[in-house]
Symmetry: C5
Subunit: 84 residues, 5 copies
């Protein structure tokens, strides 16, 4: 998974019908310049540190037929013991 920080939200009206209802957030991966869009089932806000799972495991999280979603926020980070 990736440790990332929420930087904003994306809106899309013209989309495939299989896109699940809910928020698509933009995140930046910590200590890198990579930006991703991830589905957020947790109601995270800008600046929040999150854990992002990517690939088919993100789609597999949804009940029923897997939607075309390849990144999912699976948690918000409380605290980190990582050495800087």
């Amino acid at each position: 998974m990736l440790k990332a920080t929420v930087t904003g939200r994306i809106w899309s009206t013209k989309k495939v019908s299989e896109m699940p209802a809910g928020s698509i957030l933009e995140v930046i991966v910590d200590e890198s310049n990579s930006r991703l869009l991830a589905f957020d089932p947790l109601g995270c806000g800008e600046g929040e540190k999150v854990i992002v799972a990517t690939g088919s495991v993100a789609a597999g999280w949804f009940p029923g037929k897997a939607p075309p979603i390849d990144a999912l926020i699976i948690g918000s980070i409380d605290e980190s013991a990582t050495k800087k």
Copy 2:
């Protein structure tokens, strides 16, 4: 998913028969130099900002047997609250 901008379209006559009918667009991932080719079910045009899902979830979106497609435009972006 990746936030990207459509830069063009690709045509292929010599191809595997399992390639689905429709457009393959070239996109550049925003704030990077990465270029991808993605299947477009939405009729997007050059310069349009789009959301691209990659990997097996792209193939899984198609009805019936999954085609060898690893990138799919799942939405066009209306507006972004991302801080620049």
Copy 3:
């Protein structure tokens, strides 16, 4: 998918028995320095511009049990409207 140019062919005698019969080509991804080896079902030649699908969707293209192949040339590019 990736837009790439064929640069050569690989031969392997010592290999797993599940490797499908056919050509493994070396390609370089356009506008990058990434090199990949991809299975070629189309008979592409050196210098040819191709579309490469990667990951499990490449293996899923083969009939029967999926072989350990993670990159597949799915088409040869006719023409591109991409802005340079």
Copy 4:
């Protein structure tokens, strides 16, 4: 798989209910600057050299329905014959 070194641990209280009980460690991939978060079923400690499997194979390791976990520590490294 990736050869990595454990650098810390992540705690998350606000999370999806499908996140399995256990430790999420932060690792840095050796001879790179890439950082990942990986599920640790082995009780690894800071500074330990580990083998990390990524992608859907990590989720597939768990018994029952695959959780949204895309990185798994599958072993701790005893010794390496790698030339430096």
Copy 5:
């Protein structure tokens, strides 16, 4: 797939029980600085040029339940027509 050169071997005693018996080799991807650990069913040696398949197709190669292995040496390279 990736064209890589074997640089060493990894030993792991503390590991998940699902790790298959056999060698885990360290390889460096040719014309890059990326290092990977890959399962070797072919008995390759240091300095040998190999073809590495990555992702879930590596796990799918094993008989029975797929182990948490995301990189597999599928062949040793005889000869290459690649232009340098």
